[in-house]
Structures are given as C-alpha cells and as structure tokens.
Amino acid sequence: MTIIQKKICLLGEFGVGKTSLIQRFVEGRFDDKYLSTVGVKISRKILKRSYGEMNMLVWDLAGSNGIESSASTYMQGTTGALIVCDLTRRDTLITCENYARQVRTMNPAVKLVFAGNKVDMTKERLVSVPDMLAMLSVFGETTFFLTSAKTGEQVEEAFIDLAEKIDVEK
C-alpha cells in the first residue's frame, strides 16, 4: 500500500475558525470557546485514497492579515492551503485574497481551496456567494465551500477536495 505524507496549511484572518475546522476534521468535535492560536499547531489526519493513504499534516497557522515574515518558515514544504474567511465578517474576505496572493507568489504550485466558514450563522451573514465568486475570480477559481465547523457542514469535503488537488500533482 502506498502511503504518502503531505503538508497543508490553513490560512486566514484570526477568528475565522481555522482551528475549529481542523478540530472538526481531525477530531470530529467542536468547541464554542474561542482560543487564539499563537505560532503554529500541527495535526495529523490519515486519509484513504485510491492509491493507498495520505498522511496529511495540517498546519494551523496563527491568523493575521497575511503571511508575516516570521511565519514564512511555516510554509516550507507546503503542497496545499485551505484559505478561510468568516462569512459574518466582510473584511476577512479581503484577507483571504492577500493570503492567496502571497502563497501564489511564494510557490505557484501550492494547491488552493477556499472556504467561507460559519455558514450556520445565517442572521449574521455579511458575505454573499457573489462576493466570494468575485474574490475567487482573481485567482481563476470558481469553486468554494460554505463550511460550518460547528455543524460539520462541508468541512470534510473541503479538506478532501484539497487532497484531491494534491493527488493530481502526486
């Protein structure tokens, strides 16, 4: 059986729910309490693939407005990134764009998947699908995931999609 190990990063402004998405994906749980991430936390998830298994190392980077120089070392060896915005905060959409641009500049081969998190908070929602599509169009992307770490909606799908994109380049 073929086992490959891949490193991916979760990027996005603080508080968008990156840690919660990983917690949902890796541990299958959700904690409503917000705890800011300092530095980086690495988690591991083994995914069944058609060729065998992918040992996915998920790097949860502290949220910011973009990749800071001190954090650039975290990106070494990354093959994919899940870029996350908060659907209840419009400014986080702009930060998504910054991250995606920086990642592409650092390494054009990095696979990108976009997610609008907190889709369960319908009353507070400020980012629309057209808003998302407008941001994606800058990078030639047309698909994104509306996720909820709280309910689990589309969380696995987003990570699997990133894995599939990485598989193509395997």
């Binding site: 190990q5 490193k7 603080f14 508080g15 917000y34 705890l35 800011s36 991430t37 300092v38 530095g39 980086v40 936390k41 690495i42 591991r44 190392l57 949860d60 502290a62 949220g63 001190s70 070392t73 975290y74 070494q76 060896g77 990354t78 905060r89 419009r90 400014d91 400020l126």
Partner: protein, 547 residues
C-alpha cells in the same frame, strides 16, 4: 573511551542538565544524512514525552515540524544558511496541557562544512502563554470592533434606507396633496359653473397635467343618438378629434361605454386586444391609452379618454387618481344636466304662471268691463317707470304680476256693486273698498305671487293717508303702488268710458299735477311726467334718486 572523551561527555551532560534546569533547553545532534546521532537526556521531557526521538531515526521522521524542511536543513549543513528557526510550536503534553516550543537549527561546527547539525529545542511556554493571552485579548477586541463597525455600517445603511423611504413617502404625500388639490379645484369648477364645457375643460386640464399625458379628451353620451360627442379634447393634434362623434360600441371609446368597463392599454405595441388601426390611436400616433366609462347613478354619461405618445407604466395611485377624475367628470355631467333640466322646468313653470296671471287679468278686465287693454297699458307703463326708478329685473317681474292682478280683489265684489252704473251708496262703497283686502287674502297664500302684493293691496292708498284699505301715508306705501296709482288714474282719465269721453292728455296731466302731495307721491308724479311728457320735474330735481 579515553580520558579526554570522558571529560567531554561529562561536560556535555552537565551542560545539558544546567540548560534544562535553567533555560528549559534540550538538544539534538544530527549527522550529514539528517539522522539523529545523539539527544540530550532531557529531550523527551522538553518535547512533552510524545515523540519517539532516538539515535538513528531521521530528524524529519521523528519530528513533524521538520517535514518539508529537508532542503533548508541541508543548506545550513553546507553553510549556505546560517540557521533556521521554527517558533512557537504548539504541543500538547500527555496530560493535555499546552506548551510551546521553538526549534533552532544551526551547524554543530561552523568550521566543518557538511558534518553535523545542532537542533536546540527551547520550551517557550511561559512566553507563549503570555503572548497567547495578549493575542487573545487583542483579537477579541478586534472582533468586537469589527462587529461594532459592521453594526454601525448596518445602522448607517438603515438610516440611509429609512431616509430614502421618508423622502419617497414625502414625495408620495406631496403628489397626493397635489392631486387632492386638483380634485378640490375640479369640485370648485363644477360647483362654480353651470356650463358643462367649462366644467369638463377644468377637469380635463387637471387630468392632463396631473397624469402627465399628451392627450385628454372627455366625450358626453347622447342617448337618443347613441353617440359619444367630444366636449373637450386637450392635446389632440387632429382637429377631427376635437369635434369627434363616436358611435356606441365603436373604437376603444365606444367599446368602453358599451361594455361599461375601463379599457387599459399602457403599451399598445404589446397589445393584441385592440386593433392596431384603432382610429384614435392611429391618428394621434398614441403608444398608450386609457378609455374610462363615465357612469353616474348607474347610467353611462360619457367617456374619459387619455392617450400618450410613449408607453405608460402607471402605479396604483395613478390609476386611483384617474378613477377619481372619471368620477368627478361623471358627477359634473350628471349635476349640470340635472341643473339644466331644473332650469328648463323653472322656465316652463314661470311661463305657465305668467300665462295664468295674464289669463286672470283678461278675465278681470272682461268682468269689470274695463277699457280694452287697460290692464296691459298700465302694466307696461308701470314697468317702464319702476325700471327708471332703479328697480331690479326681479322686482320689476313682481311689479308686472302685481299690475296685471291689481284689481283681482274685485272678484270678491258682487256684480250688483261692481257693475252698477249709478253712484254707489256708502254701504256699497264700503264693500267696494274691500277689494284690496280680498286681493291680499287671495294672493298671500300663493308664495310665488306674495312679492307681487304691493300693487293689488296698496294701489288705493293715498300719499296724505286718506286712502284705503289701511290708510297708509307717504313712504309707508310701497313704491310700486305709489307709481302704479299715478299710472292707473292717468289711464282711467285718458280712456273713454260709457258715461264720458276720455280727458285730453293735458287735462289729465294737470289733474295729476294737482294731486301731487295729496293723492300721489310727488316724486312718482315727477317721474311719470318726465317719462310720459318729457317735462322737467318741478317738485324734486332728484327724481332719479327714488328709492
């Protein structure tokens, strides 16, 4: 192991112990193949006892933090990079507590390229937790600020939206006020005229202006001919339309009237319900038109037709206003027609009254054997004089009635007295003198003739108070009666009677002059003489100032 190596190992062990106790440091030595050669005894403790880090295992396999960093590690090994640091790695201890590590990678011996690497592992939990605490507060504050900013933006948006709604509402209210004002002006126009053309023109002008259309026309239904006839057509370019007559059921106008329902064509180019060759649309090159039946008390009284040379997109208020205008037009047609009917009835009634009065008057003349045309002469002359005295036409009409019926009271006098040729006895005179009272009793109950009582009741009163029936004196006697008294005597003396010839005119005038101030009102005498003879008034030069 020689002594030197033994000392070195002891030194290293002691150094590791001190570093671990004082600085929470541990180390890993890696060879040129990136395999672990040796680790400090406290390494697993610093790492959190979660890893399998031992000599012989590749660094990148032992620690996930180095996965993907092989190239960088080799660069340091070959002195291409001075060092490499991975900061603030979050790790969980077996008890679940969080701790932070920083990995420093540097050449073991900078003078020996490609020999070995030293990885220093530093537990920075103390700083990490402090930083996490600060960052947590900063981020929470920032999220709150963002939420506040969003709330403010939403508030601004709602204020803006509300302001726009208020402006729109204000515009709507103003428009409704304008339209109410227009309807009020139409009411005034309808109430202020009995001319149908004037009233409908006022309505059409308001309608054309308020509804902002190019053509506004009102046609009135002619039931006997079953046609609708244009009364007003504003904005019509064709003269034909300004005088158009439409048969009931023909064109969209005749159809609206026949079907008694509004025909709406806001965009004729999209309409399939109306022939494109409808003459009204075609002649005026209309793109939109509305044909509204005017219905009053359940009857068709006309059609209000409006047209526009581009399409219309009317809202409900526009349609409501159109309906209101149509209602007003229907009401105007109905009320003015009712007024005309009433006026015609009044004329006919007045004519009937006049003919009746004239009939009574002729009957009286016949019974009284009065000189032929006496009554008509005194009536005409009295009317002429009171007109000269400044009476209004309405007052003159009452004078006419009074003059025609001046002796109506004589119907109550027995023929034996009335037609007696000999002198009357005192008793007979007493009866004869009752005829003005009889006239009063006969005419007073008739409301139409009550204002005409002055002459029949008072024409035998005398200026000096010696007359009958009430012995009124001077200006107590109504003016019409004072004037009529002069005229009646003048005609009586001038006319031939069975028992005498009529007096010559000059003798009559002399007699009248002689009675001025006793029998007659001097001013009435002066008026009479001036009008009949053309002579200058003797008694009072201000004859024209008669009340």
């Amino acid at each position: 192991m020689d002594d030197h190596n033994s000392v070195t190992l002891k030194f290293e062990a002691r150094l590791a112990q001190v570093a671990s106790e004082l600085y929470d440091l541990a180390y890993i030595q890696v060879d040129a193949n990136l395999s672990i050669v040796r680790v400090s005894p406290n390494l697993l403790s610093v790492l959190g006892n979660t890893d399998q880090v031992a000599a012989g295992i590749r660094l990148t396999d032992a620690l996930d933090e180095f996965f993907g960093s092989e190239q960088t590690l080799r660069s340091i090994l070959h002195n291409e990079l001075p060092s490499f640091k991975i900061e603030n790695i979050n790790r969980a201890r077996p008890d679940g507590s969080l701790h932070y590590l920083t990995f420093h990678v540097l050449p073991l011996d900078p003078d020996q390229t490609g020999s070995a690497l030293l990885v220093v592992v530093e537990d920075v939990t103390r700083f990490g937790l402090t930083e996490q605490n600060l960052l947590q507060k900063r981020n929470e504050l920032s999220i709150l600020q963002g939420a506040l900013s969003s709330a403010n933006a939403e508030l601004d948006r709602r204020v803006e939206q509300r302001t726009a709604e208020l402006v729109e509402a204000k515009q709507k209210i103003e428009l409704q006020l304008f339209r109410l004002q227009a309807l009020r002006e139409n009411d005034h126009a309808i109430l202020g005229t009995t001319d149908l053309r004037v009233a409908l023109r006022a309505i059409a002008e308001q309608a054309k202006s308020q509804l902002s259309v190019d053509l506004m026309s009102i046609l009135v239904f002619n039931p006997p001919l079953l046609t609708l006839e244009t009364v007003v057509a504003l904005g019509a370019q064709s003269l034909d339309l300004q005088t158009a007559r439409v048969n009931l059921g023909e064109s969209m106008i005749g159809r609206a009237a026949l079907d008694r329902r509004t025909l709406s064509f806001p965009d004729l180019t999209e309409s399939i319900a109306i022939p494109q060759d409808d003459p009204w649309a075609q002649i005026e090159n209309l793109q939109a038109c509305y044909s509204v039946p005017l219905i009053a008390k359940g009857n068709i009284v006309g059609v209000l037709f409006l047209g526009h040379r581009s399409w219309l997109r009317p809202n409900q208020e526009w349609l409501d206003f159109l309906e209101s205008l149509a209602g007003q037009a229907a009401m105007a047609i109905e009320s003015i027609r009712a007024f005309e009917d009433l006026q015609r009835s009044n004329y006919e009634l007045a004519l009937a009254y006049n003919r009746t009065i004239e009939g009574w008057s002729r009957a009286l003349d016949l019974r009284d054997r009065e000189t032929k045309s006496h009554t008509s002469r005194v009536t005409e002359t009295t009317m002429m004089l009171v007109r000269m005295a400044g009476m209004t036409e309405k007052e003159i009409m009452h004078v006419k009635h009074g003059a025609l019926l001046h002796d109506i009271g004589k119907v109550g006098i027995p023929d034996s007295i009335l037609l007696r040729e000999d002198k009357l006895t005192d008793d007979q005179w007493e009866i004869m003198r009752r005829h003005p009272v009889y006239a009063y009793e006969m005419l007073f109950p008739i409301e139409y003739l009550r204002p005409a009582l002055d002459i029949p009741y008072c024409h035998h009163e005398r200026w000096d108070g010696s007359g009958y029936p009430r012995g009124l004196k001077g200006e107590e006697i109504p003016l019409a009666a004072r004037i009529f008294a002069v005229v009646d005597v003048w005609d009586a003396l001038s006319s031939d009677r069975p028992y005498r010839q009529g007096w010559p005119a000059e003798k009559v005038y002399e007699y009248i002059r002689s009675q001025s101030g006793t029998h007659f009102d001097p001013q009435a005498v002066d008026l009479f003489l001036r009008v009949i003879t053309g002579e200058t008034p003797a008694s009072d030069p201000k004859i024209n100032n008669l009340p």
